[in-house]
């Protein structure tokens, strides 16, 4: 066990408490200091973490977690079911500032029959509820049983005591956070002695620090990834899909887009390859549906609409859209095919996508105007109110594919996320059963079907999955790219090591 791993982040952490924090900086630290009852394994399957194993009752209403017995908090106290109970109580505590309460609102009650068993009773069977137990468990004794505001303001939120592979050492606000390997970790043996989290708020400076070898890793932008090879001497570059996709959504209540054939024609008119080249310098892949290419929910048989402007023109003509007045824009009953696409300000990739699509649609005689709107107003006045013709936006996905809130027809009210007003009875039914089906094989079939059905309905033109482009100092051995990497490159960081002869920051000898 030796060496340090130096990572950097644009922003500082907020709460080093998994119940309260939601920003990525805090999550990076909390993921190393705390454990959940379960975690996501390499193939996006759920595996035990603090829980040795779990049973689910036949009706899916009761989860029983059997906890590991050899787990100790960093201060030496034993971890017990009391801690899980306490964490749950804070998650539903009305005065605790947690953004995660909704993940636990289907629970009727939680019981701890003994120190190593947790029984969770649900109001209805709900599969994604299992994933929610990846939530880091906090120690009841550390917080002295604090509730509400006292929990929000507790000093332990700045000096966390967890069960994880790394112990908290120090935090210099807006400078760095330092963690040290936990030699008593209940999981595998930890090899990297120290984890240093530097705050570098500017991306170009972060890149200079990388070239200077003063940080060990960073996530590159597509331009940086394609920079001179000499910049990356001593580093390994990685490339795989990120857990997100960008889409062009049609407001299905808009008269132009009610007709599926028209939407199909537009899908044929959009050249996704060109888009990926133009927007992310080729660092992405064209998307076919709502699930990630590395996920088990992804349907590999879904065939994308081929780029074919001729076909697009033909379909549109079949629907009565022809350029009868020779102004370059197709029309029907004297009305031009013209609509306005909105997207938010401050996201260059989205505005660039809009411009490229504008050009591509022009080729088939469709006039698309672009309107770029400041974020708050974009959400409140346009997205929430469903006040748009078409929209470019992206979704970030979590490991469980449940996409009920985006695609189910019950989610079309103001402020909900089916803001394009998609409705397909079969998809509705599949989304419902996907939430109740605990058998992984059955679930896989359900979600692959959903992937295909939504693709066929063209409510969105799924544009592309952007690539995740991490770069890592070559001395580290152990990183592997597996499906779960899309959600975090360091998913198996506790297994990484540095061969003895390559140690760069000896920690042990310095002490």
């Amino acid at each position: 066990m030796d060496d340090s791993f130096i990572e950097s982040s644009i922003g500082d952490a907020s709460y080093l408490n998994p119940v309260l924090a939601s920003d990525s900086a805090s999550s990076s630290i909390n993921g190393l200091v705390y454990n959940g009852l379960i975690k996501t394994g390499p193939n996006i399957e759920l595996i035990g973490d603090l829980a040795e194993r779990w049973d689910i009752s036949k009706d899916g209403l009761v989860f029983t977690f059997h906890l590991k017995k050899n787990v100790r908090w960093h201060d030496g106290e034993a971890f017990t079911s009391e801690d899980a109970l306490y964490t749950y109580e804070r998650l539903i505590d009305p005065a605790v500032k947690t953004p995660y309460s909704s993940n636990f609102d289907k629970i009727k009650k939680l019981e701890a029959p003994d120190s190593w068993t947790v029984k969770v009773f649900y109001k209805e069977p709900y599969v994604p509820a299992l994933e929610a137990w990846g939530m880091g468990i906090v120690a009841k004794h550390v917080f002295g049983g604090a509730t509400g505001k006292a929990f929000n303001e507790h000093p332990a939120n700045k000096k966390p005591i967890g069960t994880g592979p790394y112990r908290f050492k120090e935090w210099k606000t807006d400078e760095k956070i330092v963690l040290e390997a936990n030699s008593d970790y209940f999981g595998n043996k930890i090899h990297i002695a120290r984890y240093i989290f530097r705050i570098i708020p500017d991306n170009s400076v972060e890149f200079l620090e990388l070239r200077n070898k003063s940080i060990d890793t960073m996530t590159l932008t597509p331009d940086q990834y394609r920079a001179y090879d000499e910049f990356f001497k001593g580093y390994k570059k990685f490339r795989f899909p990120r857990a997100a996709y960008t889409f062009l959504g049609f407001n299905l209540k808009h008269p132009l887009f009610k007709d599926k054939a028209v939407r199909e024609a537009l899908a044929h008119a959009i050249n996704k390859e060109q888009l990926v080249q133009g927007v992310v310098a080729g660092m992405g892949r064209s998307a076919t549906g709502p699930f990630l290419p590395l996920s088990w929910a992804f349907n590999p048989d879904t065939k994308d609409f081929e780029y074919n402007p001729e076909l697009a023109r033909k379909i549109l003509a079949g629907q009565g859209w022809k350029d009868s007045n020779n102004d370059g824009i197709i029309d029907n009953n004297g009305k031009n095919f013209e609509f306005t696409l909105i997207t938010n300000q401050g996201n260059k990739m989205r505005s660039l996508s809009a411009e490229i699509i504008q050009q591509q649609l022009k080729l088939v005689g469709v006039k698309m105007n672009i309107r770029i709107i400041e974020w708050s107003s974009f959400i409140k006045n346009f997205v929430d109110k469903q006040n748009f013709d078409a929209i470019i936006l992206g979704w970030t996905l979590s490991p469980d594919p449940d996409a009920y809130s985006i695609w189910h027809s019950s989610q079309r009210n103001e402020g909900q996320y089916n803001f394009i007003s998609y409705e397909n009875k079969e998809v509705d039914q599949l989304l419902e059963s996907g939430r109740k089906e605990f058998n992984p094989n059955q679930r896989k079939k359900i979600y692959q079907k959903i992937h295909q059905l939504i693709h066929d309905d063209v409510p969105y033109v799924f544009l592309y999955y952007p690539d995740f482009l991490p770069v890592l100092h070559e001395r580290f051995a152990g990183p592997v790219v597996v499906p779960v990497s899309s959600f975090g490159f360091g998913w198996n960081f506790d297994e990484w090591y540095v061969p003895k002869n390559k140690v760069r920051y000896p920690v042990l000898s310095a002490q």
Partner: protein
């Protein structure tokens, strides 16, 4: 003089209060709420959960009620806790202030010394080669985008020559160093930030001192001083310089709030843990208590700065007397 200062101090109370009302209003007018970053497009959050968060932060109340709660707390010198991490606002400011003060006092000292030197020399040797060259360079420094200059300097001194660290306030192993090494480490980290922050203000201040000096040098009393047979050094530094200081003091007074507010761009580029970044992050996150805390303190210090400038006028210029 004392009664004048006392009067000015008393007047500050309504002024600071007025400034806080305006700050609070403007803050509320800005689109977006502090909870947006958690709730916008968050598919995993029910609308009840969103509403609950808004209530915890007290955002469901009208702005004047929120302001009133804030004033009541501040009257007890309690600036509340930051929305971001629930730490007391005052602690967060106290934590950043030393770093910002260190950087800004150094750069102010740098600006003051160099600007005056350039200004005086250029005025005394008007239209000389030095005058023209210094004008040119100072203007280049003034007009070039600082973040760009900063990056170029980082590449040169950090990456290519390896003489200076690229960013940050101290090295990662700072705590293991002895005192001399610590000072050296800080000095290395501060060199580029001080240089770059100083560059922008150097132009204005050196130009001001040049023109102030030029004006004074043509006065009759300077001719008189020379006629008395005083040596040039005494004429320039004792008679001319003191009179030329007045407009410069005004400028320095105006620069005081910057000293505390910190520069967002510099601090971001140099990953410097100062007030500028604290304030900017608070604005972006709509962290109302944090913003109000910084706003009030900076407003107060600005007013103190103005007062100090007025007091220094009297010290520098015997013609100015306050009743």
């Amino acid at each position: 003089m004392i009664s004048y200062v006392a009067r000015r101090l008393l007047m500050m109370i309504p002024l600071v209060l007025g400034i806080t009302v305006l700050t609070f209003l403007v803050m509320q007018l800005a689109p977006g709420r502090p909870t947006d970053v958690l709730t916008d497009l968050n598919v995993k959050m029910s609308s009840e959960a969103k509403q609950k968060l808004i209530q915890i932060y007290g955002l469901d109340q009208p702005w004047h009620i929120q302001y009133w709660h804030w004033v009541k707390r501040v009257a007890k010198l309690d600036f509340g806790t930051s929305f971001k991490d629930d730490r007391p606002v005052i602690h967060k400011i106290a934590e950043r202030l030393p770093a910002t003060l260190l950087l800004n006092f150094l750069s102010l000292g740098f600006i003051f010394i160099f600007a005056l030197a350039i200004g005086i020399y250029s005025a005394v040797h008007q239209n000389s080669v030095f005058d023209r060259l210094s004008t040119l360079f100072v203007y280049i420094g003034f007009s070039a985008p600082t973040f760009w200059i900063a990056l170029l300097l980082m590449i040169l001194f950090g990456l290519k020559l390896g003489l200076l660290p690229i960013s940050g306030l101290r090295s990662l192993n700072f705590d293991e160093l002895n005192t001399v090494q610590k000072i050296l480490d800080l000095a290395k980290h501060l060199t580029l930030p001080v240089l770059v922050t100083a560059m922008t203000s150097l132009a204005s201040l050196s130009r001001y001192s040049r023109s102030a000096m030029l004006e004074v040098i043509r006065q009759d009393y300077i001719r008189t001083a020379r006629a008395k047979g005083l040596d040039e050094q005494t004429v320039i530094f004792k008679h001319a310089f003191r009179n030329a200081l007045i407009p410069i003091i005004t400028l320095m007074g105006l620069m005081l709030p910057d000293l505390i507010g910190g520069g967002f761009i510099f601090e971001t580029i140099f990953a410097y843990p100062g007030m500028g970044r604290l304030g900017y992050d608070a604005i972006m996150a709509r962290d109302y208590p944090m913003l109000m805390g910084i706003g009030t303190i900076v407003a107060f210090l600005t007013l103190i700065g103005n007062l100090l400038a007025d007091v220094f006028y009297a010290l520098a210029d015997p013609r100015i007397r306050y009743q």
